[in-house]
């Protein structure tokens, strides 16, 4: 598997002294879905946020190790984080639409990046909406407030908003936790389609979703990566006892 991101011995600690990640190493494959699963509070989100430096907004005090993406070390404090975040997009657990129109949400990131020209922005918006399977539902109401959309539509808009920036990596932190089964199915189908072109890292909201979506999967427990393997293998023949117990539902 060609690796898009290589994480080497990454440790992250918060200012209150709690250690969130300890010595995590793994390779994230290009054009595949990598799932990070495990019990709540284990450090999955922290690991995800290390990939686009959103941890900068939290009170993280120490980071050690390396995260390589296209030859750049994402841990480097001198890194251009704005450029990084355009390359590594993020979808959050709660669909947060910005208080703008549907179109405004889609073009927001591009406008910040200095992209000008109505037709360029509109083309990008349409492409992103089509990729997120939302175009048919909103094509006639692009100027309405995004907040008027349903929860499932809002979350697909959040995904489309990331796609509009044409990133290389998409991070998703429990993107379907607030959605009904139909919307969840739609988002999952979209992700399966998107993985042909993007590197996707997903923190699933359930073990079932982890098993459904994973090309590769890592089990994260108490800040450590316990096991990392192709999805088929880890959910059927886990090597580590702790992974096995979790997958079989003995805790978590």
């Amino acid at each position: 598997m060609p690796a898009k991101i290589v994480i080497e011995d990454l440790s992250v600690a918060y200012s209150d002294g709690t250690e969130s990640l300890r010595g995590v190493s793994l390779s994230i494959a290009d054009r595949a879905i990598t799932v990070l699963f495990g019990p709540a509070g284990g450090g999955k989100s922290t690991l995800l946020r290390a990939l686009n430096r959103l941890n900068d907004l939290a009170d993280v005090v120490t980071v050690s190790g390396h995260v390589w993406l296209d030859g750049a070390d994402l841990v480097d404090p001198r890194l251009d984080v704005v450029a990084l975040r355009r390359k590594v997009g993020m979808v959050f657990a709660q669909p947060v639409v910005l208080p703008l129109s549907i179109r405004g949400n889609l073009t927001y990131g591009l406008e910040l990046a200095g992209v000008r020209g109505r037709s360029r922005l509109e083309d990008a918006a349409e492409r992103a909406l089509r990729a997120a399977a939302l175009w048919d539902e909103v094509r006639d109401r692009l100027d309405e407030p995004a907040a008027a959309l349903s929860g499932g539509q809002q979350q697909r808009l959040c995904l489309a908003r990331v796609l509009a920036l044409e990133p290389q990596v998409i991070l998703l932190d429990e993107p379907t936790s607030g959605l009904d089964p139909i919307s969840t199915g739609s988002v999952e189908a979209t992700l399966q389609e998107l993985k042909k072109r993007y590197t996707i890292v997903l923190v699933p909201h359930s073990l079932q979703q982890a098993a459904r979506m994973a090309d590769y999967a890592g089990f994260v427990l108490a800040g450590q990566l316990i096991e990392f393997a192709p999805g088929r293998q880890i959910f059927t023949h886990p090597r580590d006892k702790r992974t096995e117990d979790y997958v079989e539902g003995r805790y978590g």
Partner: protein, 292 residues
């Protein structure tokens, strides 16, 4: 076991206490509203006969016992505008710094304590401070400029604290999302946070300026003049102003027609209540449109 109605006395007692408590709360509510209604009604009834186009657009004549209050209206207008021009950008800037940029530290806590204390300083102290700094030391003289600067100082704490509150009320998730989409902190503040906080900020601005418009003490030594035969020609000229004019014609001018005193009070009241109404309108319209 006793049925509930087997002991009628406590139940009846509870009902009586309930009624008494309710009556007291109603009285308290009425007691807060009644004075406002009475004051406004009294001034409207007494002052309305004095109001005419001439009263609003003419210079005072005959030792202010005849004619209109135009210079006082314009003076208060210019002073309020000048205060706004100075205090609004400064206040919003300081609030943005406190809410969006400054990390929580001993330094920001000190700023906040200073703001709370500034808001509590009596207005006459601001007046004396303005006299010392702007009128005398900086040699602006008794002028629109010195008065506006003094009123700005007095208004700043109000504007800063309400604006900071409005900024903090904007959900943090908007900031995180904006930054995750490659926004810088400033882009996030300018394109998302400030527009969302704007109605709240405007409300604070208007309430602050309204207080500035109605104050007498800060302009007493810094801007206001007893009587001026002509309107101010520059920011370095002294000015007449409604609150000070009202004070003058109510206490300093013998044989002043009461009608004109009430008329002046009515104009000042309308000015201030009008601003208050505007603030309320902005706030309720923004609330109806808000999506969070």
């Amino acid at each position: 076991m006793t049925a509930p109605n087997a002991s009628p006395t406590p139940a009846r007692h509870r009902r009586r206490v309930q009624r008494l408590g309710y009556a007291f709360l109603t009285l308290a509510a009425v007691a807060t509203v009644a004075p406002i209604v009475l004051v406004v009604a009294h001034i409207v009834v007494q002052g309305a006969p004095a109001i005419s186009l001439a009263f609003l657009t003419e210079m005072p004549r005959a030792g202010m016992r005849q004619g209109g209050v135009l210079p006082a209206i314009l003076g208060t207008f210019w002073l309020t505008l000048g205060t706004g021009a100075l205090a609004v950008p400064l206040g919003i800037g300081a609030a943005t710094y406190l809410a969006e940029y400054a990390p929580e530290s001993r330094w920001t806590r000190a700023i906040r304590v200073a703001l709370i204390n500034l808001a509590g300083i009596p207005s006459v102290v601001y007046g004396l401070f303005g006299l010392g700094l702007f009128v005398l030391f900086l040699q602006f003289g008794t002028s629109l400029l010195a008065g506006s600067l003094t009123l700005s100082l007095m208004t700043l704490p109000v504007i800063i604290s309400t604006a900071e509150e409005a900024l903090r009320a904007v959900p943090n998730s908007f900031r995180v999302v904006s930054i995750s989409l490659g926004g810088t902190r400033w882009q996030t503040v300018r394109r998302i946070v400030l527009p969302q906080a704007l109605p709240g900020i405007l409300t604070g601005v208007i309430l602050g300026l309204e207080r500035a418009a109605g104050e007498t003490a800060p302009i007493l030594f810094t801007a206001a003049s007893f009587f001026l035969p002509r309107l101010p020609q520059s920011v370095f000229d002294p000015t007449m102003a409604l609150p000070y004019h009202l004070f003058v014609i109510s206490t300093q001018v013998p044989e002043m027609p009461v009608r004109l005193q009430y008329g002046t009070a009515l104009v000042l009241l309308a000015f201030v209540l009008g601003m208050n109404l505007l603030a309320t309108l902005i706030r309720s319209r923004a609330r109806a449109r808000r999506t969070w």
